[in-house]
Amino acid sequence: MNAQEYIASGNLELFVYGTLSEAENKKIIAAMEKYPEVKEEVEKIEKTLKSLAEEVAPKVSDNVWVAINNKIFGGGTVKQLETVKTTNWLAILGWAASVLLIIGLFWMFNQNATLESELVENQKENQELLEKIISTEESLAETESLLNILRDKDIKAVNLPGHAPVAPEAFAKVFYNESTKTVHLDARGLPEPPEGMVYQVWSLKMDPLTPTSIGLLDDFASIDNKVFVLQDIPESEGFGITLEPAGGSPTPTLEQLYTLGVI
C-alpha cells in the first residue's frame, strides 16, 4: 500500500481508536515511519477525536488533580513519619536515661540505708563493749579492794563451820578488823534462806556468853559474791549466824543456828 491507500483505507481512524489487531497496528506504525503524510493524517485524526472528547463532557474539577497528587505524591506524610520516628528515638533515649537514673538513685538510697543501719549496729556494739569494759573494770576494782582488805595485817580470819544439828554442810568466813570495827563476811557456804526468813549475824562475848546483833544479810539472793560488809562491830570473841523471821530478832533463835566460830 502507498500513503494514499493507507489514508483512504479507514484503518488510520481505527488505529487511533485502538480497535485494530496487533498485526494491523504494526503495519500502520511502519507506514507512519515510511510516509510522513500517513503520520500527519494520524495526528489530524487524533486531534479531531481529542477535541471531540473534550467537548462532550463537563469541565474536569480541580479536585481530581488534587486527589491524584495526594495519592501519588503524598510525600509530606512520609517525611512527617520520619520526623516522628526521630522524635521517638529521642523520647526513648530520654525515658531510658530517666529509668536508669531512678534505678541508680534507688540503688544508692538502698546502699545508704544499709550503711546507716550497719553504722547504728556498730555503734550499739561499741556501746555494749564499752559497758562490758566498765563493768569488768568495776568488778576488778572491787575484787582488788577486797583483796587489799583481806591482806590487811590487822585482819583476823574466823572460820564459822556449820552447826551440825541444823546445817552440817553450811559454812562461813569472817574477816574481822578490830581497829576499824569492820567485818567482811563471806557467806557463800550458806544455803538460800527460805521465803520470809533472813540470816542474822551475831557478835559473841564468851564469858558470859552475850550475843549482840551486828546486822541482817538482806538481799542475800541478789548479791553475787555473797560478801557482806558490816560496820560498828563491838569487841568480839566469836561470831554466829542464825535464821530469823524477816526484820530480825532481838535475841538469836538457837534452834536455827547455822554457823558458829570463835576467834
Binding site: G10, N11, L14, V16, T19, T48, S51, L52, A53, W65
Partner: protein, 176 residues
C-alpha cells in the same frame, strides 16, 4: 503531534511532565469516561484512577505499540466500563445503547464553553444519526468493527468507510 519528550520524562518519573500531560489529556480522557459512566462523581473517580495508572504504568507504553492518546483511551474505556460493571448499573446496557455524545451535548448545560468549539458542537449535532452511532460505538465505547456491524445491522465492509467519512466531515467543519 505527540509530546514524545514529555512521555519519556514521565517514564523517568518526572512529576512536572506528569502534570503537563495531565493538562493536555485530562479533558479528553474525562470525555471518554463521562460518555460511558454518565455521572460526574463516578467520572471524577475513574479519571483519578486512570491518571494514577498512567503514572504507575507509564513504562509499559511504547511508541512502537501505538499512539500515547490511544494508550490512555484504552485505559480510560476499560476503567470506565469496569466502574459501571462494579456499580452493577441495572440500566448500563440501556445507557450504552441510548446515550451517545450527541445526547450529552444536547442535555448538558455545563459543558466546556470555549468559542472555537461552538462550530464543532453545532456540527456534531448536525451529524447524520448513523455517523453519531458509528463514532459513539467505535470511538467512545471501543466496539470492534464486527460488534458495531452487528449492533447497527450494517455490512461489516462499510463500517470503516462510513466512520472515516463521518470523521472527515467533522474535521472539515473544524476548518481543515
Amino acid at each position: 503531534m505527540q509530546p514524545d519528550e514529555l512521555i519519556t520524562l514521565l517514564q523517568n518519573r518526572d512529576q512536572r511532565a506528569f502534570s503537563k500531560l495531565y493538562e493536555m489529556y485530562s479533558e479528553s480522557t474525562y470525555g471518554i469516561i463521562y460518555n460511558i459512566v454518565l455521572d460526574q462523581d463516578l467520572a471524577d473517580e475513574v479519571l483519578q484512577d486512570v491518571f494514577i495508572k498512567i503514572w504507575e504504568k507509564s513504562s509499559t507504553y511504547s511508541t512502537s505499540k501505538g499512539r500515547f492518546f490511544t494508550w490512555i483511551l484504552n485505559i480510560a474505556r476499560n476503567a470506565a466500563i469496569d466502574k459501571i460493571r462494579s456499580k452493577s448499573f441495572k440500566n448500563s446496557k440501556k445507557n450504552l445503547d441510548a446515550d451517545n455524545f450527541v445526547h450529552i451535548l444536547e442535555d448538558q448545560t455545563n459543558l466546556n464553553q470555549t468559542t472555537d468549539t461552538i462550530g464543532l458542537r453545532a456540527f456534531v449535532k448536525a451529524l447524520e444519526p448513523l455517523c453519531r452511532k458509528v463514532i459513539d460505538l467505535l470511538y467512545f465505547k471501543g466496539f470492534t468493527q464486527v460488534e458495531a456491524s452487528e449492533k447497527l445491522d450494517i455490512p461489516l465492509g462499510t463500517i470503516k468507510t462510513r466512520n472515516r467519512n463521518c470523521l472527515k466531515s467533522l474535521r472539515n467543519s473544524m476548518g481543515e
